[in-house]
Every structure is written in structure tokens, then in C-alpha cells.
Amino acid sequence: MVEPSMLQEYLLRLGDNGLILAQRLAEWSGKAPALEEDMALANVALDLLGQARLWLAYAAEIEGPDASEDTLAYLRDAPAFRNLLLVEQANGNYAETMARQFYFDVWHKLLLSGLARSHDERIAGIAAKAVKEVAYHGERSAGWVIRLGAGTALSHQRMQAAIDDLWPYTGEMFTADALDQALIAAGIACDPAALHAPWLEKVGATLDAAGLTLPAAKWMQSGGKQGRHSERLGYILAEMQFLPRAYPGAAW
């Protein structure tokens, strides 16, 4: 039996990923390596933010009439956020931003393709729309992994370092906890474990094409989906939530 609170929790996992990654990408505004990249990063951020709003609006409806996409985005503290650790990692240099994006995009596309077949029609509808946007994100980030991996000696070294440093944050994308299991059994969620093989195949092929080495490290960090985050999330929220917190009850 799937309780509404379980469905809501699952929707927060979906929505918070897009929200936090969009927030990170927006930090690049006006500072990207080229004007074309500024435009493209904003496009990806806008897509992810748009998707996050759809997931959070659905989650808010389950919570009740006083909740909205904004109360969920602006009035929860870090332990109530359900995003993956990967998306809250710092932008770093452009290789780090693109490696983070690449790992996420490949997984995100697989996830949404699965969710497009969800028995929950609303989830299926949002996923079917989002997957088209995300397919483009993945092509773009894979393109940068290859371009930087096979660019100059310096860019190769930076992209390899980024691929290695972010690797430990990829594990939790594929582990199903009790909540996932219950929703998978109900035909609502997509089994994350089933995404691992195709993800690894695509990541491996791209790294090969880029002349990069697939990391061998086995240890994986986890906790984001359960609300145990890195130190970074608190700062993201402090910045993002400042106005509604400073002016409680104001409409903007």
C-alpha cells in the first residue's frame, strides 16, 4: 500500500534534484567560458527548474492547500531536501561542472524513460515531457566530456580529475531504499538498480571516446535521498531562501 506521504517523498526526490542543479548552474550566469556556454547553461537550468516546479507542485498538492512549489523550495531546511549528493557539489572549474552534468544527465534520461511508463499518470506525463529536454542535456554534456578529455593536455588532466572526484557521488543513483522498493512494487517508481548497467555502458563509451579512464574506486557516498547531505547544501539554501525567510508571509 502506497501512502500519499510516500508518493510525496518520492516526488521531492525528483524535484529537488532539478531545483538544486538548476541553482548550481545559475551560479555560472555571466561567467561562463564563452557566451554560447552562458546561453546553453541557462537553457539547461531553465529546463531543470521547469521540471522541478512540476514535481514540487505535485508534491505540494499531496501535502495540502497551504503548500506550494514555493513553500517546498523556500521553507524546508537541508535535512528535508531529498536531492542526490551529486547535484549539490560545487561548480568548480568547467570540467567539474560538465562531469557532474554528464553523470547526472545519463542517469536522468534513463530514469525519466522508465518513469514515462509509471502507473501514476501524472508522473508518466511529466517524465515523458522532460525526457525530451534531458536527451539534449546528455548530448551536450557528453560532447564536453569528449571535447575536454580529448582537447589539450591541460583540459584532459582537468576532465580526468573531475571524473574521478565526482565518481563517489554516482553510487546512490542506483540504490533502492525501502521507499523505492514500495513504489516500484506499486508500479509508480522506476527501479534505480536497473539503470546501472545502461548508465555504465554509456559513461564508459563516452570516456573511451574522450581518451579518459573509467574510475576504479569502489567506495560510494550516499545519504542525499534520505536527507543526509554534504556541508554544501546549507549554503545553497541560505542563498536561495533568503528573501522569503527575511520577509515571512510576503508575496512576490
Binding site: A26, P33, G151, L154, S155, W252
Partner: protein, 339 residues
Amino acid sequence: MYAQLVDTGETRVRGAEEMSAEEQAFQSRLDAGVKIEPRDWMPDPYRRTLVRQISQHAHSEVVGMLPEGNWITRAPSLKRKAILLAKVQDEGGHGMYLYSAAETLGASRDQMLDDLVAGRAKYSSIFNYPTLTWADIGAIGWLVDGAAIINQIPLCRCSYGPYARAMVRICKEESFHQRQGYDIMLALARGTAAQKAMAQDALNRWWWPAVMMHGPSDEASVHSAQSMQWKIKIHSNDELRQKFIDQTVPQADFLGLTVPDPALKWNEARGHYDIGPIDWDEFYAVIKGNGPCNRDRLKTRAQAWADGAWVREAAAAHAARTAQAAQPDLPQPSATQEP
């Protein structure tokens, strides 16, 4: 105006008798309303002035991303965040159209960007003011984009084809920008007392800088006459400024906010608003680099450009190697390094 004090190299307009036959023919085409296209003959000063004007305009769009970008991560609702993100993205797009228009005149985008970060190129004085509160995002859309539209709509009819066509696209987006700014102001003006005070404070700080955006008054504007003869400037600075003021004061009234000019008064006889004296010392100080944010803005742009150099080099190296693989006859590019 996004291009202020554009140096034409000419402080007076030359009569037909001082022009070569080519220049006379060029001027007659302008007078007949013919658009000049990149392959057409044009006098060097016309070309140089346009490069200066269009690149200043492009730089203003790109530097203008910074004060508003400053609030994307802090926008107070997800809807406002999405709108602001899209707006700042549009400004980057405007920069791209304009750099492309300048490139049709033989300028290179990399050179123009180098000039910007080295402090050799100008951009609009308005972007050297800080965005201190969320209401500043509303004020920029309402006042700054409002002033820019008034300048830019006539430029859709300017004599240089690629510039005129870029302006048509830009103006469509700018009017959306202005509406979103006014919508932010409206929400604040109808909000709590603190929000209304925030809106009034933003108007107090942005009003005069916006009024100055149209550039020096006509009598102090030594290059205007030549630019007008070339039809790359259609109306005088003071005409544009008056239009902005006449349009904006009733909008401030509707918001219930007070324009910070005690001398502001409707002049029935003229059919326009009269305003108090403009502090041109402040304008020239900002133009000369002494605005509150000149150093920060340039430093940020220069830092972003320098930080991105290795990325651009890698992309170029990869593109060269891909082209080489597709066409083995091409000479091996020397800049590429094997990883």
C-alpha cells in the same frame, strides 16, 4: 541608451562640397533611406563609428548580465527565478546578435571582448550601479529596459542593415523584459510596508542613472550631428530622454511611488514633464570608471574570460583535430597537443 558618447571621429558635419564623389553617393543613398549592407562601400569613419557603437551596445548587454545575474540564485519564488534566468539569457543572446552585426564590419568578437576586459571599450554607464535588493531587479526591468527600448526602437530603422535587423529581434524581447520588471514593482508596491519601502528605495537609486542613460544633453553631445547624418542615430539624446520621462512618470504614479525629483512637474504648455537639473558630474565620473561597480564589473568579466581560456583552447584543439580526421589533407594544426 546602451551606447553612450560614441566617438564618430568628427565633431562637425561636413557639407557635400567637402566629400569625395563616393562619399556623396553614399550619403545620397542614406538620404534616400537605402540600407547599407556589409559588402557595400562605406566611408571608413562610418564603419569605425558603427563598430564602436554596436560593440558598446553588445558589451552593455554582456556586462548587463552581471547586475541581474546577481539575483538569480536569490529570486524570491521559483516563477521569478525562471523569468529572471530567461531574461539574463536573452541579454546574452542580444550580445551575440550584436557581436555578429559588428563582425559584418570586419571586427572580431575575440578582439572586441579583449578590448572590453582590458578597459579599452565602453559600455553603458547604468551597469556600474549595484543591485542591492530584489526591488532593483524590478527597477532595472522597468526603468533601464524602458529607457533602452526608447533608444532602440528607432535603431530598427537605422541605416546599417545587420544592426537594424538585430535591433528588431532585440526590441521584441526588451518589451517583455520591461513588463516583467514592472510586474515585480507592482507586486512590491501592493505588498507589505517593507516591500513598498524596498520599491521606493530602488526607484530613488535608479531614477537618475536611468535618466542619464540617453547620454549628454544635446548641446554637449558633439558627435550626435554626424551620427544623425549617417542615420545611425535617429533622435537626439534630449528627445529620447523626454520621451522616457513622459512615459515613466505616470507608471510611477500608478505604482504609488514617488519619483525622486522635487522639480518634476507637468508642463501644460509644452505637453511634457519638466525635470530638475541632471548631475552630469556623476555621469562623467561613472563613464570615466568611478561608478560604484566599474572595477567589479570589469574584473568579473576579465576573470571569467581568463578562467575560460583553457576551455576555449581545448574546444578549438578538439575541433581542429576532428576536422583533420575528416579531411586528412588539411595541414596539421600546430596548436593541438596530444593529451
